[in-house]
């Protein structure tokens, strides 16, 4: 069974600092990879996704993530965070079969101090 590990449970940064959130998964086959974000009081929503091709993917609001197959990792980055990036971030994996089984990490709470 696949699993997803997010190493940082809570990250606190000042505005303009750079961000990197770790995500590692365990599954030997082909997967689709996602980062979802939940802003305070809002639904979970897609930040970015990787299916195939260029391992560096760009998402909304200046976020990007890099898929490193050899490390089973899909880390999220942003060069300069803003106060409005305060949210909970979830990494998710879907096994790339007909229907796909979805697994989420436990999330990282990001607090950005103004």
């Amino acid at each position: 069974a696949q699993s997803v590990s997010q190493h940082n449970h809570h990250v606190i940064l000042s505005e303009a600092a750079s961000l990197e959130l770790g995500c590692n998964y365990s599954y030997g086959g082909t997967v689709n990879l996602f980062w979802y974000v939940q802003y305070p009081g809002q639904h979970l929503q897609l930040l970015l996704k990787y299916f195939s091709g260029d391992p560096l993917v760009k998402g909304i609001k200046g976020f990007e993530a890099e898929f490193i197959k050899s490390k089973f990792s899909f880390n999220l980055r942003k060069p300069s965070v803003q106060w409005s990036d305060t949210a909970e971030y979830f990494c998710a994996v879907i096994v790339n079969t007909n229907a796909g089984k979805s697994t989420f990490g436990d999330g990282t709470t990001l607090t950005v101090k103004p």
């Binding site: 996602f34 979970l44 790339n96 796909g100 989420f104």
Partner: protein, 113 residues
């Protein structure tokens, strides 16, 4: 397009009572998911439907939880009887197909006393 609708938004019940949650996915989405999210944890998949068939229910506690997807559209998730450890947010999500983006509803926060 309208988003995923869920009701109720909040529910408080006593242990051993039963409860039901309703989800209306985005129109045309074939895949529907129910997740349980306990405070401090990520969403845990309970059941996944593709149209009106069950694709995965390996983590559904079948002795007390049941779910159905009516005519491949709306879905209900039922807990009977509830336990204290069922206190959580129950999320419904839908997607065009099983390996693509999931669109989440607002969730139902269940408190079992």
């Amino acid at each position: 397009e309208a988003g995923v609708a869920q009701s109720p938004r909040y529910k408080i019940i006593e242990k051993r009572q039963s409860v039901a949650f309703w989800c209306n996915p985005i129109s045309g989405h074939a895949t529907l998911y129910w997740y349980q999210q306990i405070l401090g944890q990520g969403p845990k998949l309970l059941i996944q439907f593709q149209n009106n068939g069950v694709v995965d229910d390996s983590q559904l506690p079948k002795d007390r939880f049941s779910a159905e997807r009516l005519k491949g559209v709306d879905s209900t998730l039922k807990i009977q009887p509830a336990k204290l450890e069922d206190s959580a947010v129950y999320l419904c999500a839908s997607g065009r197909w099983g390996v693509d983006t999931q669109y989440f509803g607002p969730g139902t926060r269940l408190t079992v006393l």
